[in-house]
């Protein structure tokens, strides 16, 4: 933690960054995002197990961008998000500083995106044993049972869009859900509308989701949305051998045609 604070102080004092986007003490047992602008405020930064929010999400806010060049405290999911955003031309290497931290809280030296790519390559986006068990539990259900499970989950959805707001990869300035010509998705929270929203969001994130889990954490109704995104991530890997957040120059599997792509869906 002290290393991180020192690095933050230096970055602000030298003008290498105008704002340090990191974690501070929140209410209860939570951490919260803090936006440090003065070197002497760097002591507000903390780094512990409560620091789980994917801070890359704040890059989509104009008020945050207006603060100047950010130095972002980045755990692995944030690094993956930054690389995925870079591969989608949403962030440029020169426009931010990455204060990478390892899973055990050590400050990493990541002077440029290449170094971040190398680090991320050491921990590829695979499911942990627990995560696989979670998915398998649903996989083992029959189609009917799976349908019923998700209908029950979606019945809790109030369409607050916290999942969308918390996701760094949901950065569309005009979300599809907000379009009314045509009204692609119903607005109210009802059975069909909730189902359609979550399916569309999962599809739009397929191959792009970096599995930070913030969608499920943000959901006030406790819907395990991360399962949908993880499932699709696994499907994409199975079919195209691609994973999100590996490279700033990554290709989006669903946006690229390669001659060797299987066409076994054409019957």
């Amino acid at each position: 933690m002290e290393e991180l604070r020192k690095k933050a102080r230096e970055a602000l004092a030298s003008g290498a960054a105008q704002v340090v986007l990191g974690y501070g003490k929140g209410s209860g047992k939570k951490a919260r995002a803090v936006f440090i602008r003065k070197p002497d405020q760097a002591d507000k930064l903390i780094l512990d197990d409560s620091c789980v929010q994917n801070l890359a999400v704040y890059l989509k806010k104009p008020e945050v961008r207006a603060l100047g060049k950010p130095a972002i405290v980045s755990r692995l999911p944030t690094m993956r998000a930054l690389l995925q955003l870079a591969s989608e031309n949403q962030v440029a290497e020169k426009d931010l500083l990455v204060l990478g931290v390892s899973h055990d809280g050590k400050l990493l030296d990541l002077p440029e995106f290449k170094a971040m790519e190398d680090y991320v390559a050491t921990a590829p986006l695979e499911l942990t044993a627990e995560e696989r068990a979670e998915l398998d539990k649903i996989q083992k259900l029959s189609l009917d049972e799976r349908w019923r499970y998700w209908q029950e989950q979606f019945a809790k959805c109030v369409k607050c869009y916290a999942c969308r707001a918390a996701c760094p990869l949901c950065y569309c300035a005009n979300c599809l859900a907000e379009c009314n010509q045509p009204q692609w998705l119903p607005v109210p929270s009802h059975q069909r509308g909730n189902l359609e929203w979550h399916i569309i969001r999962a599809m739009h994130l397929a191959g792009r989701c970096v599995s930070c889990g913030d969608c499920s954490r943000a959901c006030p109704a406790g819907i395990p949305l991360h399962l949908l995104n993880r499932k699709l991530a696994e499907e994409l890997f199975r079919n195209f051998k691609s994973r999100a957040g590996m490279s700033a120059k990554g290709e989006y599997a669903l946006g690229v045609f390669k001659p060797e792509d299987k066409e076994n869906f054409i019957k």
């Binding site: 209860g28 943000a218 006030p220």
Partner: protein, 340 residues
């Protein structure tokens, strides 16, 4: 109307529920669903969640549903036929509502009966009775005492139950509706216990003076820097508005096919940028800091002034559930204590 104090034994709850049900009422009560607690239809007290401070979603859906049909329409050649909704609200008892939530119905009512009478809301409210449950425990997010409420306040409940040290309940029968409910099972309501209600209530300290907050807020509209700083970490989702028992902003949406359709009313949030977006593309509240300001001003300045109600009951759900840990009470205190 004087409050009748009675004793309701814990073991009587089964009987009470079954009398309520046989009188044609449905019962909504807090039910565990994984780590969350929601208000759902129950048949017996055994299904209820126990030992919790507050539910995840509020019970406002009972009087102001997430999605409600306003009327339906049929297309017949060039003509249109309109029809009122077919189903009438069922008489409902909400059991186990905390005093903060019970007080919120009056806040909702102040909006729905402001000059124009919303008969849909009124008919639901009229058919809803509240058997509230005082709070023995509170957490750091509760601030009912700061907005004119308290862990044992009777306002909004038709009957308020307070759990005593014996495990039985002090039952305060507050309203005529409450008297009607008690009359369904008069033998279950015994003479008032001697035990002091206060010592069975959580301690919730007042954290700011509403009048001070109100006076300060009215000076702060133009202080953009304050609003930007307070809302930097806000993600602009609708979670706070949707879990809030006193939030009432809504949207109207048509859903139709070739033969006809419905006009629906559904929850909306002033936190969304779409909320005030004009078709021309102009948006009077185009950035989150303006929308955060609107949330605070509406609840703590405009509503008190126009409708004589604070738009907040201090339940703390917004702060417990905010994905960005905005924590409303911190911001309110910052404003109330502002020395400028």
């Amino acid at each position: 109307m004087a409050i009748d104090k009675k004793l309701l034994k814990k073991e009587s709850l089964d009987q009470l529920f079954s009398r309520l049900k046989s009188s044609g009422r449905s019962i909504l009560a807090p039910v565990n669903r994984g780590e969350q607690i929601f208000f759902e239809q129950v048949n017996s007290p055994g299904e209820m969640a126990k030992d919790y401070i507050q539910t995840t979603l509020s019970a406002k859906g009972a009087v102001f549903p997430r999605c409600e049909e306003l009327f339906s329409y049929r297309f017949e050649a060039q003509e249109v036929k309109l029809e009122d909704r077919k189903s009438e609200p069922k008489p409902t008892v909400i059991f186990g509502l905390r005093p903060c939530d019970a007080a919120s119905f009056a806040v909702l009512n102040s909006v729905f009966t402001w000059d124009y009478q919303d008969e849909l809301f009124k008919s639901r409210l009229e058919k809803t009775a509240v058997i509230g449950l005082s709070c023995k425990k509170a957490d750091e997010y509760c601030f009912c005492a700061s907005v004119g409420g308290g862990p044992g306040e009777t306002q909004g409940s038709d009957i308020l139950l307070t759990e005593l040290s014996s495990g039985n309940y002090l039952a305060e029968i507050v309203t005529d509706k409450g008297r009607d409910l008690a009359a369904l099972a008069p033998e279950l309501f015994g003479p008032a216990p001697a035990e002091d209600k206060e010592k069975n209530l959580a301690a919730v300290a007042k954290q700011f003076e509403l009048k001070t907050l109100n006076a300060k807020l009215s000076q702060l509209f133009d202080k953009n820097q304050l609003w930007v700083e307070q809302s930097l970490r806000c993600l602009g989702c609708g979670a706070c508005a949707f879990v809030c028992p006193a939030c009432v902003c809504f949207d109207l949406q048509d859903e139709a096919g070739r033969k006809g359709g419905v006009r629906l009313r559904c929850w909306d949030s002033c936190g969304f940028s779409l909320f005030t977006l004009h078709t021309s593309g102009h948006n009077p509240r185009s950035v989150q800091s303006q929308r955060w300001r609107q949330r605070l001003m509406h609840k703590f300045a405009y509503m008190p002034e126009r409708q004589n109600f604070v738009g907040c009951v201090g339940c703390g759900r917004c702060s417990r559930l905010c994905p960005a840990d905005m924590n409303l009470i911190e911001h309110l205190k910052e404003i109330a204590e502002n020395r400028e």
